[in-house]
């Protein structure tokens, strides 16, 4: 397949006679042997499946070659081996979904209405096999009653399963229940999740889970033991045991198996090829303090190939891996990339519009519905139009050359492309204009495909009339387009890091190693933060040696300026160019910087319940870690130690999971059992959340005899003293009986709360969620960027997380910050707000601006005080809310001025007159 020639018109797939199961739709629908992976795939090019193509297997057919209008298919083409010279390698091969066929009790493959969660995802999707109309496989009817079984292939030590927790399945199942409810709408319906521990431990996940509960999703703590088909092989019958040991049976219309994640099947081959070490699950082995580094220098790993994880952490790790990969190559940055150069721009402002219109047929995509010949003739008669061309594919390389040639020959100064969507194709045509010496903003696109031929296939005449309207509007607007210049900001090649804990120090050190100066602010007298109180990571590595080494490297690095007892007092400017005053011991120091990393950290909540502060035997994790470190001999003598989980977390006041406490209690319990195997160790928990590979610690703790007792929030443990004894009373839901423990120590797994950062929120105009954690720009895809450009988040100030995740987030923050620092001058977009002389400073627009790009300014003119708005070009995103709000055209958006919009509206209503 010649990717330069393929224009993804789809004729080849239409003519291809070979139908095969579509792996993209998890085999639930068919595709052809020549196919698009999915409709929005990148690159948007057809591919031939060599295993099913008739010509490839039988040597006959080639229908696709015959029908391809651009000659893009060439069966003579052979695969080639290329040698690449690279400075670093990042491994991100992802995961494969667990295949539940081996777990025969669940009936997958035997019972039609048992599907995997990935198949169910396709059933729900609008791009899926049934266009998003939810039906079950057996009789294609809507399933009103759906059940999910969690931990299919995960947390399973029997053969055929994986012993670890796959981390993401609890949440995707909860999501699927809510989306299912939306799909089914009114009428009787129910969703039931059978789970072991519900693990909603990431940011905003617990709230989502509670929301699902409130909406009526049933959560049953049980692992169903057998699944049988319903009558006539339709639906399923589920057998399970409830918490109190009663046998139960229930019928469902459809059963979804929440399958786990596992290393891809070629993991070992890949590991051998690169010489990296895998663990016993075939995930890449990484260290506690170097979370994305493999055992091979220069080879890094991110995403699910390290351990199962959700999208936000994969994305953050990807940035961290990019940072590591780039650090070793700093001196070669820019040596293999090229900046494109363009001829000088022609000034067209004094000239009358000379418009060229290019009408695209898009193969038959447009021409099959819209009369493109008639449209072209019509366009030629519009005011200002001096040239019209109809092209088979306006986006093809030869048409770009044609456009450039016409611009020069006919002295065109404005271009209209009537084709597809500007979202995908505007940059291409803008580039063609620039290459021909025209400003890129002298272009308009009329979307006569997505908004016309694709949706009006049955009404070709009306579609053609609409296309004429669209082109008339574009011509009217382009005549009023003027050249725009992209602004630029000088980037200060320096970073500010707020917070001297492990996340902040890691960020500062990595920035410095990348060759950027960093200023590290610490509000206290000492670097290190919470890490001083920790003993070991969950992987068993000692924290202290790492911490002291990190501190000395930070303090001695020539590029890092450490300011202790420091407070940020002012923040001016925006991305690329911030200026602040920092107060140290009452003295103010100015600091200029291009980007900032916020790593202000968090702290352990001081509990109010369970006699904390009243009885010295009731302590928190951080205090207990100190005891383990300093008084291990004393602890060894204890008869009994109890832990209570979720103290202050997952409560109405703090509806989030603190993420680290379950693992912390389990590792401490293991340590105690190792000190004294006779000791009674109890962990009282709600859901045990040893996510990912940490699950093995939970298994080990149970093997060592640690006793786990579940409690529900409406039946919290009761703690009291009885004479000299400390007592803990709890109702065991399995025994259905109250238990009374007499622990020597009671350890409270207290919540992590963010450090107060309200001053920073106001200074940077950043935002925090209801619990005070900083908000990221996008919860899935930009987990490290804050809502403010040039400001990045790392560590506990974003959400509770263990040390290795804080480190990888700090490294990711440096990668993201590097995108700004890599350029000495940062180009801004040209479509920005512009305050006009009509502005009288009424300030209506200030409140609507979501980017806080507008400011009110007072000035004096002839002795009179006036007010007006000033727009910050670096902050403005050109969304246009201010223009829509202003009652007097006091502010406008370039390229969407009132004049330009009016011209378009006038043009469209012309056809009504």
């Amino acid at each position: 397949m010649d990717l330069d020639k393929c224009i993804a018109c789809g004729l080849c797939a239409e003519k291809c006679p070979k139908k095969v199961d579509d792996p993209y739709n998890a085999g639930l629908s068919k595709r052809k042997a020549i196919y698009l992976q999915y409709s929005q795939t990148v690159p948007l090019k057809y591919a031939i499946d060599p295993d099913t193509c008739l010509y490839k297997i039988k040597g006959k057919c080639q229908a696709c070659v015959k029908f391809c209008p651009t000659g893009a298919i060439n069966f003579e083409d052979q695969g080639e081996t290329r040698t690449l010279q690279v400075g670093s390698v990042i491994l991100a091969p992802g995961y494969q979904a667990f295949d539940p066929a081996a777990l025969t009790a669940y009936g997958y493959g035997r019972i039609p209405d048992v599907v995997t969660s990935l198949e169910y995802e396709r059933l729900l999707s609008a791009g899926g096999p049934y266009q998003g109309h939810l039906v079950r496989p057996s009789d294609h009817k809507e399933p009103r009653k759906v059940a999910w079984i969690q931990c299919v292939g995960s947390r399973n030590t029997t053969p055929g399963g994986n012993s670890y927790c796959s981390t993401v399945c609890c949440m995707y199942a909860v999501k699927q229940t809510l989306v299912t409810a939306e799909h089914l709408g009114r009428g009787e319906q129910s969703q039931t999740i059978f789970y072991m521990d519900l693990r909603s431990h990431n940011k905003e996940f617990e709230r989502y889970y509670q929301d699902a509960k409130a909406k009526g999703v049933r959560f049953i703590k049980s692992r169903p033991h057998s699944v049988e088909p319903g009558p006539h092989n339709i639906g399923v019958k589920l057998s399970y045991l409830t918490m109190d040991g009663t046998k139960a049976e229930e019928d469902f219309d459809l059963l979804v198996l929440s399958v786990g994640l596992e290393a891809p099947k070629d993991a070992q081959a890949m590991a051998e090829k690169f010489g990296v070490t895998l663990d016993h699950h075939n995930f890449v082995k990484t260290g506690s303090f170097s979370p994305v580094a493999t055992n091979q220098d220069g080879i890094f790993v991110c995403g699910a190939f390290r351990s199962p994880k959700a999208i936000p952490r994969s994305v953050a790790e990807a940035s961290a891996a990019a940072m590591e990969a780039a650090r070793a190559l700093v001196e070669a940055r820019g040596t293999l990339t090229r900046e494109k150069t363009y001829p000088p721009e022609r000034d067209v402002s004094p000239d009358e519009p000379r418009i060229g219109v290019f009408v695209c047929s898009c193969g038959i995509n447009i021409a099959g519905v819209v009369d493109v010949k008639g449209l072209s003739e019509y366009a030629a008669g519009l005011p200002g139009v001096v040239a019209v061309e109809n092209n088979l594919f306006t986006c093809s390389t030869d048409t770009q050359e044609l456009i450039a040639k016409k611009i020069k020959e006919l002295n065109l100064n404005r271009i209209v492309v009537a084709a597809c969507t500007p979202r995908t194709h505007e940059p291409l045509f803008q580039d063609t204009l620039r290459e021909a010496g025209l400003n890129p903003y002298l272009l308009e696109m009329a979307n006569i495909r997505n908004q016309n031929s694709w949706v009006h296939q049955q009404q070709p005449e009306a579609a053609t009339a609409k296309a004429k309207d669209q082109v008339r509007m574009a011509v009217a607007k382009v005549a009023r387009d003027y050249a725009l210049e992209r602004g630029a900001v000088q980037v200060v090649q320096k970073a500010l890091v707020v917070g001297g804990g492990v996340a902040g120090m890691t960020a500062a050190l990595e920035l410095a190693e990348r060759g950027y100066d960093a200023v590290l602010l610490e509000k206290g007298p000492k670097l290190g933060g919470n890490a001083w109180t920790l003993n070991r990571t969950w992987k068993g590595d000692e924290v202290r040696p790492f911490l002291t080494d990190l501190i000395s490297r930070v303090e001695n690095h020539p590029r890092i300026q450490v300011m202790k007892n420091a407070a940020l007092k002012t923040v001016n400017g925006s991305v690329g160019n911030f200026a602040s005053q920092v107060e140290v011991d009452g003295a103010l120091t100015p600091v200029a910087y291009g980007v900032a990393v916020l790593a202000t950290g968090g702290q352990e909540l001081q509990p109010k319940e369970y006699l904390f502060g009243q009885d010295r035997r009731v302590i928190t994790h951080q205090q207990f870690d100190t005891m383990l470190r300093e008084q291990a001999a004393n602890l060894q003598k204890a008869n009994s130690i109890a832990f209570i989980q979720c103290v202050g977390s997952r409560e109405p006041e703090r509806p989030y999971c603190s993420r680290v406490c379950c693992t912390h209690s389990v590792t401490s319990a293991i340590k105690l059992k190792e000190l004294n195997p006779q000791m009674n160790v109890y962990i009282l928990y709600r859901d045990l959340r040893t996510y990912g590979l940490r699950e093995e610690l939970y298994t080990r703790a149970r093997e060592l005899g640690v006793i786990f007792i579940k409690y529900y929030p409406d039946n919290n443990p009761r703690v009291f003293t009885d004479g000299p004894d400390l007592k803990v009373e709890i109702t065991d839901p399995i025994l259905q009986m109250p238990l009374r423990l007499t622990p020597d120590y009671l350890v409270l797994a207290a919540a992590i709360i963010p450090n107060a950062a309200q001053d920073l929120v106001e200074l940077f105009k950043a935002s925090v969620n209801a619990e005070g954690f900083f908000t990221e720009a996008h919860p899935k895809l930009r987990p490290v960027d804050s809502m403010v450009d040039g400001l990045y988040l790392a560590g506990l100030c974003h959400h509770p997380k263990p040390l290795d995740e804080a480190i990888s987030q700090a490294k990711a923050a440096v990668s993201r910050a590097g995108l700004v620092l890599a350029k000495e001058v940062m180009q801004l977009d040209a479509i920005k707000s512009q305050v006009t002389e009509k502005c009288d400073g009424c300030a209506l627009c200030l409140d609507v601006c979501p980017y806080k790009a507008l400011k009110l300014e007072e000035y004096r003119d002839n002795g009179h005080a006036h007010r007006r708005i000033v727009s910050d070009k670096a902050l403005c995103k050109g969304c246009g809310l201010c223009e829509a709000t202003c009652p007097k055209e006091g502010v406008t958006i370039h390229h969407f001025t009132m004049d330009q919009l009016k011209a378009q509206v006038d043009a469209v209503i012309e056809s009504l007159n």
Binding site: Y24, A26, L36, Q37, Y38, Q40, T41, V42, K45, A47, L84, Q85, V86, G87, V89, I90, L91, A92, P93, G94, E121, R122, L124, S125, A126, G128, Y172, V174, K175, L178, V179, F205, R207, Y208, M270, E272, F274, G275, G303, A304, I311, S314, V315, A318, S319, A321, A322, M323, A325, A326, L329, A332, R333, L336, T337, P779, K780, L781, S815, A822
Partner: protein, 146 residues
């Protein structure tokens, strides 16, 4: 590039090998860690080293490493990286290979390319997007995965 084993250098100068490592860290010796326990010097750095410690190059055991484009003809072993010593490139290469075009691979590639590194994004299927492209919506915002 000239590679000298760290122990050779420690013996010649008469200090502990960790002292040599510290000197490299603090910049007293202008070298960077190479493959194995080797230290990599530029020819200039090597001359400066010899001058400072009055070492005689002809008595020193060292390796001159060649460019990657002229690989050693020695037979390869099962682990291709085991022969990296001979394959070390003289200059740092400003490109990165990213294996896998799912959401993690895409993000890593974008971060690198935007900072001026050439990226080879290697994907085994016909399009990038990976598993995430098969998802309907994503929690906790119920945004469309696409």
């Amino acid at each position: 590039m000239i590679s000298i084993h760290i122990l050779t250098l420690a013996r010649e100068i008469g200090v502990h090998r960790n002292t040599i490592r510290n000197w490299v860290k603090t910049g007293k010796i202008n070298a960077r860690p190479g493959p194995g326990k080797g230290l990599l010097f530029t020819p200039e750095g090597f001359q400066a080293l010899c001058q400072e410690f009055q070492l005689q190059p002809e008595h020193l055991q060292f390796k001159v490493l060649t460019r990657l484009s002229a690989p050693d003809a020695s037979p390869s072993t099962a682990n291709p990286l085991a022969t990296r010593e001979e394959h070390v490139s003289e200059k740092v290469i400003g490109s990165v290979m990213v294996v896998g075009g799912g959401i993690a691979g895409i993000q890593a590639s974008l971060d690198l390319a935007d900072q001026g590194y050439y990226v080879y994004l290697v994907e085994k299927s016909a399009g990038i997007g990976g598993k995430m492209s098969q998802l309907d919506k994503t929690y906790p915002t119920n945004d469309c995965a696409m």
